[in-house]
């Protein structure tokens, strides 16, 4: 009935949808620049061990400034100066960035996984379960999350892992709402009915049909969860409840700097600028992705 067809050479392939998205994204200059910047900063954070000229937690008691308890201004030796314990600000910034980016990414992974899971269960099952899950979302959204962070941080042992868990568990709600809305709309599409009518399992319908088509908004949401987690981490560290000292994070570097605002501008400028730049870059990338995924903007 059938004969094998020679496909190897004659098969016509086509730019995949990811390639089209990338093409659209490239056109968004600011987003592309932001992405490159984030990759560079990310690599610097990953290779902090190799790049950092000093151990970030080393206190040099022999340094001239420390005797007076004074930070040293930027010099050839200390590119961004030192803090009041004579720790190298450049090295601390690298390690702080590693901590902040890790916290942002891991919290995002928790938040997105929870959001996708709850959104899919609610949207796909519908009915009572959907109702109950969405009311839970409402409750979580109505909690004053920052005050809750404070309370939980006070109860739990101060550690990076607890911080990541807390940030992740309190930022999945918007994602789950969005995923649920996507699933509800996709579930009624004909290709899903077609798949159901050939007897596809719910697992296959979710994994092959629903999730891939909901991926674009999920990715956009993910890029926007990272900066908000970084900001929360910084804020918590600033008030002394985030990453415990002596380890550096961009937030607790700011906290160290708060007594030296006028005397040592380099102590707050470096972490402050890094936080702003990273958060802004993530938001630009998110915007760029949103436009790139939007099929109505597709140009040939």
């Amino acid at each position: 009935m059938t004969r094998p067809v020679q496909l190897s050479e004659s098969t016509v392939t086509q730019a995949s949808l990811w390639w089209i998205t990338w093409r659209n994204f490239r056109r968004h200059r600011l987003a592309l620049a932001s992405l490159i910047l984030l990759i560079v900063l990310g690599l610097m954070a990953v290779f902090a061990d190799q790049i950092a000229p000093f151990n970030p937690n080393d206190i040099n008691t022999q340094a001239p400034g420390v005797a007076r308890g004074m930070p040293e201004p930027p010099s050839a030796l200390h590119l961004f100066g030192t803090d009041n314990y004579n720790r190298d600000v450049f090295s601390r910034a690298l390690y702080g960035m590693r901590v902040s980016l890790s916290v942002g990414f891991l919290a995002m992974l928790i938040s997105i996984s929870l959001g996708i899971l709850i959104g899919i269960v609610a949207g796909y099952s519908g009915g009572l379960l959907d109702n109950v899950l969405m009311r839970i979302v409402d409750i979580f959204l109505s909690l004053p999350s920052f005050i809750l962070f404070l309370a939980l941080n006070a109860i739990l042992e101060a550690s990076i892992w607890n911080l990541i868990l807390i940030l992740g568990f309190f930022s999945w709600m918007d994602v789950s709402r969005m995923v649920r809305a996507e699933i509800l709309a996709l579930k009624e599409r004909d290709f899903v009915i077609a798949s159901m009518s050939v007897g596809a399992s719910p697992r296959r319908i979710i994994l092959a049909h629903l999730l891939p088509n909901a991926l674009a908004p999920i990715i956009v949401a993910a890029t926007l969860v990272v900066p908000s987690a970084i900001l929360s981490e910084s804020a918590l560290s600033y008030i002394g409840l985030g990453v415990p000292p002596p380890d550096a994070s961009l937030g607790n570097m700011l906290e160290d700097a708060k007594d030296w605002m006028l005397l040592a501008w380099w102590m707050w400028l470096v972490p402050g600028v890094l936080i702003s730049v990273v958060v802004l870059a993530f938001n630009f990338v998110g915007d760029g992705l949103r436009d790139a995924f939007d099929p109505t903007l597709t140009r040939r």
């Binding site: 059938t2 098969t11 392939t13 086509q14 290709f191 009915i193 077609a194 050939v198």
Partner: protein
């Protein structure tokens, strides 16, 4: 039409109600009666046209048959099962798991060629999905089978690694047809397969469907809102109005001499190919009534120009003639309605 008629599918008093929920607690405040007591038979090898206005429940009926919905009441009896004991299998009573055994006999072609193909899957994955799910083929065998299917619907197999967005509406509809053929079904529900296409492409797709019917001995339930397309392809035609069947007849008889005033009104909208014959154009006033609160008596009476007092009070009985022509109208036997010649 073959001389002896074997029933392949029998719909018995099928109802599909959708609950209307209101308020925080989602209490059911009423039902949309999308399909409200439909009965008809589909014979082996024929094409049964199913026509009606938007919102009359024809799509819901089609989707209920493939069990995309769980019908509220009634039976969907399928006689195509070779192991059957002659009584037929009631799809309406099966669980999704039990239904799986009959999925390969029953397929669907959709109206919207843009919504019916997953934009994130290649043509190979789309057409091959039924084969993959039913473990019919894998790897190179799957590719060979898909390329064979694509050739049969008039597409070049070289394009199987492309995504649906590379194809035109007519080509996409052919992909949908290839997918429906993959499991060699006996019955295909065609849900307005050409309504979204250009007229020139419509003819190609209709001809393709007819060729495939010959080749594979398919039975079609052909849903449409356009009587002229249905006339071309159908052996028999059922007219639906507001979740019920208004009239069923052999295609020729229905067009020649309709028994239901609603059919007459639909026929008057079919353009005539002969400019010398001028027919009276019957314009129905108003819209299709809300299926959540259908009119009393005959659902068509507010728009019917022959309506009498009884139409408002009593739901019409089914008037069947010996030749299989039947209509749900109190005056089916007395009215002389205008058809198309």
């Amino acid at each position: 039409m073959p001389p002896e008629k074997t029933t392949l599918l029998e719909i018995k008093d099928l109802q599909m109600y959708f609950p209307i929920r209101r308020g925080l607690l989602k209490r059911t405040v009423g039902y949309v009666r999308a399909v409200d007591g439909v009965s008809f038979e589909v014979y082996q090898g024929e094409t049964l046209g199913l026509v009606g206005e938007s919102g009359c429940g024809k799509t819901t009926l089609g989707r209920s048959i493939v069990r995309a919905y769980r019908p509220t009441a009634g039976q969907i009896l399928y006689y195509g099962d070779t192991n059957g004991n002659g009584h037929g299998v009631d799809f309406a009573a099966l669980s999704q798991r039990q239904m799986r055994a009959y999925r390969d006999d029953l397929q669907m072609i959709f109206q919207d060629p843009y919504s019916s193909l997953n934009p994130r899957m290649t043509v190979l994955d789309i057409v091959g999905e039924p084969l993959y799910i039913h473990n019919r083929a894998k790897g190179n065998a799957l590719k060979a089978e898909v390329s064979d299917l694509l050739k049969r619907v008039g597409l070049r197999p070289e394009y199987m690694n492309r995504y649906p967005n590379a194809f035109s509406g007519g080509q996409r509809q052919r992909i949908g047809i290839a997918r429906a053929l993959a499991l060699r079904p006996k019955l295909i529900i065609c849900d307005e397969p050409v309504s979204a296409l250009d007229v020139s492409v419509q003819a190609q797709v209709v001809n393709l469907l007819q060729d495939l019917q010959q080749e594979f001995g398919l039975t079609y339930l052909f849903i449409a809102h356009d009587l002229s397309v249905v006339q071309h392809i159908s052996n028999r035609v059922a007219v639906m109005y507001l979740g019920r069947v208004a009239e069923i007849a052999d295609s020729f008889a229905l067009y020649r001499q309709p028994l239901h005033p609603y059919t007459e009104a639909l026929l008057s909208a079919v353009p005539s190919t002969n400019p010398d014959i001028s027919r009276e154009r019957i314009i129905l006033s108003g819209d299709v009534p809300n299926p959540a609160s259908p009119p009393t008596g005959c659902a068509f009476h507010p728009r019917c120009r022959y309506a009498q007092a009884i139409c408002k009070e009593k739901r019409p009985e089914w008037h069947a003639r010996p030749d299989g022509h039947g209509a749900a109208c109190h005056f089916a036997d007395s009215l002389s309605l205008q058809g198309v010649h």
